[in-house]
Amino acid sequence: MDTAALEERFQARIDADERIEPKDWMPDGYRRALIRQMAQHAHSEIVGMLPEGNWITRAPTLKRKAILMAKVQDEGGHGAYLYGATETLGVTRAALIEELLAGSAKYSSIFNYPTPTWADIGAIGWLVDGAAIMNQIPLCRCSYGPYARAMVRICKEESFHQRQGYDIMLALARGTEAQRRMAQGALDRWWWPALMMFGPPDAESKHSAQSMRWKVKRFTNDELRERFIEFTVPQAEYLGLSIPQGTIDWNEFHEVLRGNGPCNRERLEARRRAHQNGGWVREAALAYAEKHRSGYREAVQ
């Protein structure tokens, strides 16, 4: 079969809502688009551990500390699921991580914003995870099997993330004057970046149309953004907080993506440091395993 016929048959499978599996024939463009999107998603989970990790040691109660640890741990797990799913497309995790550390891979720009107060942890759960869930639920039905399956697991696990964030905001909103100010400040900081998480306006989104056709994306950026606003505004009203007035500054979005956000440098440096400091550990474990290569059973028992 020639490529045109293969592509036609491939698109017919997608249109019939069939799932594509790792060893199936797929157009190069589809493979590349998936690798780009899934790796970006995996990187976002890993970099996303940092702004919240910033508060693990300072969480104001032991219950909040346990919840936050579990949540940041989940994000690491989600990164691992997604790297694993991406590896089914013929790339290695090591190569993807090298790209991230070299600064040549993208991740969600939201994680380049700082978390100066405890309320930022509430706002991240409520707004950032809320926006992420809205983006992610349609991906549970995306055309690539391993990605869809990873997303099912991730969405199931993330269902508590948004609620715990809102729960933090509730406690602050019902708290002292200083706590309410803290909550409003965090909403003001995270509102616009959260809206930017849905990506550029449809008119400017360069990958959207093809991604929709391949069903690796199922709603447009603007559709999801509007739905998010519709859900979130009454939630803010319930907290007695005001949604910032104005419009999205797309210039800021592009600057942050280009590496000029408030914490881009810190985030990448933290990842590089962890990778470099862990080099001797990863090498030692490999060296040990090579010395003691004795099959499965003996090693387990």
Binding site: L62, M69, G278, W280, K291
Partner: protein, 255 residues
């Protein structure tokens, strides 16, 4: 300390267990997001969550024994350094991954036989917490001893590093077995355990794992630390300053 009544001893004994778990969980929490491999972020977080869970149960119980209405957070966030009764081993800084895993291994090898015995304590609440803790401690020991072996018997660099970690941490292990008045009173009351017997198990585990790891057992040192009496070095104060910052800055606020 020896002037406390038996109920004071009981409370202090439970607080020692609670604080060691809390302080070590706090240290492990610093790692999340910075581990050598993604899978280790997950593993360290699991251990941290287990220890934090045990700390919360034990603190709540210590508060009840004290009878002054202090809950887990009052005890965790509003006590000063000198009132913290954790073993000094737990508060040692994370250092590199080898330091952290060596610290964890020395701790787990102590906590497991301790909990195994506490599970038949005459204090039913403590026995129940310990029985749950045994399962967790057994996994922690599996995880940490696996890493001590890999690093010890890995590369020349990893061998040298983790041998150094053991040398640095060794002086902090003495107090784990050095029974004082509180330990003895609790043992006599059937609430506590025979630390000498715990030591025998600990020595066996340590000898077996270090042999497999091709590491040498460091020599014992004359200076003994007594974190469990509230006598700490310079690290705990910094940890608490960070951990307690919000509660201290907003007295009485609810979170």
């Amino acid at each position: 300390m020896s002037t406390r009544g038996d109920s004071g001893n009981h409370g202090a004994f439970v607080l020692r267990l609670a604080d060691s778990n809390l302080v070590l969980a706090q240290r492990l929490g610093e790692w999340i997001g910075h581990a050598p491999a993604l899978e280790e972020d997950l593993g360290l977080a699991n251990t941290a969550l287990d220890l934090l869970g045990q700390a919360r149960l034990l603190l709540t119980y210590a508060g009840a024994l004290e009878g002054r209405g202090r809950d887990e957070d009052a005890l965790a966030y509003l006590r000063e350094e000198g009132e913290y009764l954790n073993c000094a081993l737990a508060e040692q800084p994370n250092g590199d991954f080898g330091d952290t895993l060596a610290r964890q291994f020395l701790f787990d090898a102590w906590q497991l036989p301790l909990y195994e015995r506490l599970a038949s304590s005459r204090d039913p609440q403590l026995a129940a917490i310990a029985a749950r803790g045994v399962k967790e401690a057994r996994y922690h020991l599996r995880y940490s001893s696996g890493w001590v072996v890999r690093l010890g018997d890995g590369t020349a660099e990893s061998h040298g590093r983790v041998q150094g970690s053991l040398e640095r941490l060794w002086p902090y292990t003495a107090e784990l077995f050095d029974a004082d008045d509180i330990d003895r009173a609790m043992q006599v009351a059937g609430i506590g355990v025979d630390l000498g017997a715990v030591r025998v198990d600990w020595e066996q585990t340590v000898a077996a794992v270090l042999a497999e790891a091709t590491l040498a057992r460091p020599g014992d040192r004359p200076w003994h630390w007594y974190g469990k009496r509230g006598e700490h070095g310079e690290h705990l104060g910094h940890m608490l300053a960070q951990m307690q910052a919000l509660q201290r800055a907003h007295p009485g606020a609810r979170w």
